[in-house]
């Protein structure tokens, strides 16, 4: 995932023919790359269990199915965190120009909130798609439209950070939207996940 994101940054450098990005262009490149890398992780999230019958084993264990969902979502959250630990510095160094470290502190809450929502939706979509025949095709088709609000909030929230002018009110608005998204999809996924494992 991290390698993929760095490769995409290089592709963007040549595709856009820019040595450094700023403002909304930088925010767009950053978030779209992160979400495309997420698709790779979501694709693999349930595949191993499916192929080796691990799901049956988990269902035999005396645990709540919500725990299975939360574990998968937490794993995806950690994957995303790892991805960002590599992708954010790479993005800063490769594409952000001379003064790369300034926007970092304000980026952290945005990324954390976005990760929660992406992890919840990603675990749900992964469980949905793993039983289908064209699994690798279904994941991006389902996941990317569902993540549009995250891109909106993330890109709108970060683009002032990458230009240098930062109004805290605006950031709060986008953090609020991400929080709402997280809450709705976390609760919803917990509510419906049981039905995906029923056999």
């Amino acid at each position: 995932m991290a390698l993929f994101s760095v490769t995409v940054f290089v592709l963007f450098h040549f595709g856009l023919q820019r040595n450094s990005l700023e403002g909304d262009l930088a925010a767009g490149v950053f978030w779209v790359t992160l979400l495309l890398a997420t698709v790779l992780g979501v694709n693999r999230l349930f595949v191993v269990e499916r192929e080796q019958g691990g799901i049956d084993g988990m269902l035999l264990a005396p645990i709540d199915r919500t725990a299975v969902f939360l574990a998968k979502a937490a794993a995806l959250f950690l994957y995303l965190l790892l991805l960002e630990l590599i992708a954010v510095p790479a993005f800063d160094i490769l594409l952000l120009g001379p003064d790369p470290y300034k926007p970092l502190p304000a980026l952290i809450p945005l990324l954390l909130l976005a990760n929660v929502g992406v992890a919840a939706v990603g675990a749900l979509v992964s469980a949905l798609a793993v039983e289908t025949r064209a699994r690798d095709l279904m994941v991006p088709l389902l996941l990317l439209p569902l993540l549009v609000p995250v891109v909106i909030a993330g890109a709108e929230g970060t683009s002032p950070l990458f230009t240098g002018s930062q109004s805290p009110h605006e950031l709060g608005k986008w953090l609020g939207l991400l929080g709402l998204y997280d809450m709705v999809f976390l609760l919803l996924s917990i509510a419906v996940f049981d039905f995906l494992l029923e056999d």
Binding site: L124, L128, A129, E131, T132, R133, A134, L137, M138, L141, L142, P145, L146, V148, P149, I152, A153, E156, K173, L177, L180, Y181, V184, F185, L188, S189, V192, F195, L196, E198
Partner: protein
């Protein structure tokens, strides 16, 4: 089972739609700004409302399916979403025509309602591929229901997010103040909305009836096949055996 009341419903929806079209062209005044072009509003907005309500209704029926485990609810949810996708295509096409006429572009990004509708439409386009790439019918119903619920909850969040991100330029005809529509326009709009709602319900019942009938037919055919197999060889053929049974079975 589903065909009850289908005939009066079809007649009612036909009559209401005809009345609505008559009102649109001969009764409602031309818009002061946009002139004749604004008439597309009476088609575009009602089908948008009906198809969004259809998506949400599909999600509610899916909840009902998961609660009761009754396959007929799954069928209802499937047909509602399927029809809403067809209507959604109509919404995008009429919206695009309207945008072209009124703003000069086929597609306008800074217009939240159209953009969020496109996103919702793209998401729901995955409903059928998801459904039919799962073989086990029982699991198919459950997974489709989970998708319908998640997507139904996504609709309002998506509208909030897209609206927050953009300037307000969509004609807010139905604003909080009740809109600045004169009474004749509002009457036409409401009748048109009613007409499309009736049309949706009629089509929904019609497809459910046809699905139910074809399922029954399949069941009868299977029983006939079993009957033919169980009969000892050389027994006189019953009158139904004019139906060609598969010879490869013997």
């Amino acid at each position: 089972m589903y065909s009850k009341g289908l005939k009066p419903l079809s007649i009612a929806s036909l009559a209401t739609l005809a009345l609505a079209l008559g009102l649109v062209f001969f009764y409602a005044p031309n818009d002061a700004d946009q002139g004749f072009l604004q008439k597309i509003f009476y088609i575009h907005v009602p089908i948008a409302i009906v198809s969004l309500c259809g998506f949400v209704a599909g999600g509610l029926m899916a909840i009902q399916y998961l609660r009761t485990n009754d396959r007929s609810w799954d069928m209802r949810s499937y047909v509602a979403i399927h029809l809403s996708i067809v209507l959604g295509l109509g919404v995008l096409i009429t919206g695009s025509i309207w945008a072209r006429g009124s703003w000069g572009h086929w597609w306008v990004w800074d217009e939240p309602t159209l953009v969020s509708f496109l996103i919702v439409f793209l998401l729901y386009c995955c409903y059928q591929p998801l459904r039919f790439s799962i073989e086990d019918p029982e699991r198919q119903a459950r997974y489709a229901a989970v998708f319908a619920i998640a997507a139904g909850a996504f609709v309002p969040i998506n509208f909030i997010a897209v609206r927050m991100s953009q300037s307000f330029s969509h004609p807010r005809v139905l604003s909080a103040t009740g809109g600045s529509m004169p009474g004749s326009m509002r009457l036409t709009f409401l009748i048109s909305l009613l007409g499309f709602t009736l049309l949706f319900v009629t089509l929904w019942k019609l497809e459910l009836t046809s699905k139910h009938a074809s399922m029954q037919l399949k069941r009868l055919k299977k029983r006939l096949e079993l009957d033919l197999e169980e009969r000892p060889a050389g027994a006189p053929a019953p009158p139904v055996s004019t139906v060609p049974a598969q010879p490869s079975r013997d």
